[in-house]
Symmetry: C2
Subunit: 328 residues, 2 copies
Amino acid sequence: MSIKIGIMGYGNLGRGVELAVKEAPDMELAAVFTRRDPASLKILTEGAAVCSADSVQDWAGKIDVLMVCGGSATDLPVQTPKYAGMFNVIDSFDTHARIPEHFANVDAAAKEAGTVGIISCGWDPGMFSLSRVYANAILPEGKDYTFWGKGVSQGHSDAIRRIEGVKDARQYTIPVDAALDAVRSGKNPELTTREKHTRECFVVLEDGADADRVEKEIKEMPNYFSDYDTTVHFISAEELAANHSSLAHGGFVIRSGKTGVNKEHNHIIEYSLKLDSNPEFTTSVLIACARAAKRMADEGQKGAKTMLDIPPAYLSPLSGEELRAHLL
Amino acid sequence: MSIKIGIMGYGNLGRGVELAVKEAPDMELAAVFTRRDPASLKILTEGAAVCSADSVQDWAGKIDVLMVCGGSATDLPVQTPKYAGMFNVIDSFDTHARIPEHFANVDAAAKEAGTVGIISCGWDPGMFSLSRVYANAILPEGKDYTFWGKGVSQGHSDAIRRIEGVKDARQYTIPVDAALDAVRSGKNPELTTREKHTRECFVVLEDGADADRVEKEIKEMPNYFSDYDTTVHFISAEELAANHSSLAHGGFVIRSGKTGVNKEHNHIIEYSLKLDSNPEFTTSVLIACARAAKRMADEGQKGAKTMLDIPPAYLSPLSGEELRAHLL
């Protein structure tokens, strides 16, 4: 019997989840829930319902896993614990510093309701976290390196947009090749923030804005830009729309570690992603996690989980026998 | 209380396990078991016992996990099921085609004894298998590529040594850069065996052996060499010992997959290893699996498992809280 999926929120993530469900041989989309007028929403899946977010509790028992597709800043801290009280849930909560608090809130709600809530699924947190945990467990003596990009950082783009005189902006985070090469050499370099990434900004000015002042404000902005080598390009709104609307992203997780009687052997473990669409890759991970949530709930597990708690085989539609025969 | 480890067999793998136990904050080596005269064995760990393999059953209850460090051809098919009848066990069984049969044998023995036996741990099978399973679960529409090397293949080196007139040999498997680049480009190329790897052989001849005949026999050997571009170098025994005793190895697992309404977005997931010591890295993985075996057994699980069944957090000495706070 196929796994019935609900989608809460139909933005970039919600649409990506819908596409990922289409690719899953063992799933079907039951309903999309929206805070907008359901009649205004066109979805891709024939036969799936489009409903008001307020009516979601009517779907208890008709949905196996609800994908909570809100933002990490204000939506998920409220929504994930709330819906974990009704359904098995998946979210992509990515505010690293607040994960322990979010985990505790979802855990309490899910344990009371007898559901499974897998939080912080995606690639970072998510696949990158898994790479760090595996590599640290294997090579206890070593050093971790994470590089992001090339890709647009929404947080940094938003920070530029808040500057007076800026109409629109995109900021790319770019890993420095020389730093990657140094890490891969096994030399375990100590790298400063500036040595690891550069930042490239494409900015559309309001009419009459002072480009020199805007560039100075960007480059001197603490936390966001002052510790980096930053380049600023001023372009037209048309050029921004034409050349900078890509959702591509990616990155590298590398652990360099040593073994041997005298620590004479070095090992490099590297995991990397090169993604044409950050939201579509993220939602492909979320849907694999939904499969695991169903299996864990069917076993009688309950409470909050992360990808670190999921036996990898649970993410696959294949059986244990098939996996051992073909992928082990 | 620390996890008590036993090592069955003190070759390259057994010695690597001993080093990995030294690095584990939560483990101690209880005993090494050998088929040789125990008095002839010098181990690195003070306070650990050295015992005859025949006496291992006397250690029931005194060892949490027994690391079965034999060869896949003839040792492990017998030893792992046998010792799973007495202890939680870990092995590195790597004959891919016979894994289902080995799994069934260990499963039966472990279920009867109430133990956990994790088989086929290491990097391939092992970490490479995990990479394939994760990447396939995330990107159901795509193509897998595995490249090995640069590193010595024992099987191919042995095949050369069986040729008349050959005194000794080492064979390196080398991935072809152009093939790796084509895969990383997202073009999903169909690659022949010849296009993926080259084979480089360093051969020491017996006195008076015919080099031309040996080279021809190597290059035309079916399965092992005839489908590859193979280079043969004849060198002295001294040169072989001086320059070709490295245990380095590595490889790449890449999945290239598509998402999107019209499959317009390509994604590349790449996992790679660059290892100075193949046996020491392998045993570092085995020891992380031993930690998981203890946890799974403590939960009341029993039977055969593979790394695909292990929640990643179980491999780490850190708690769930610590992992979520620092590595997620």
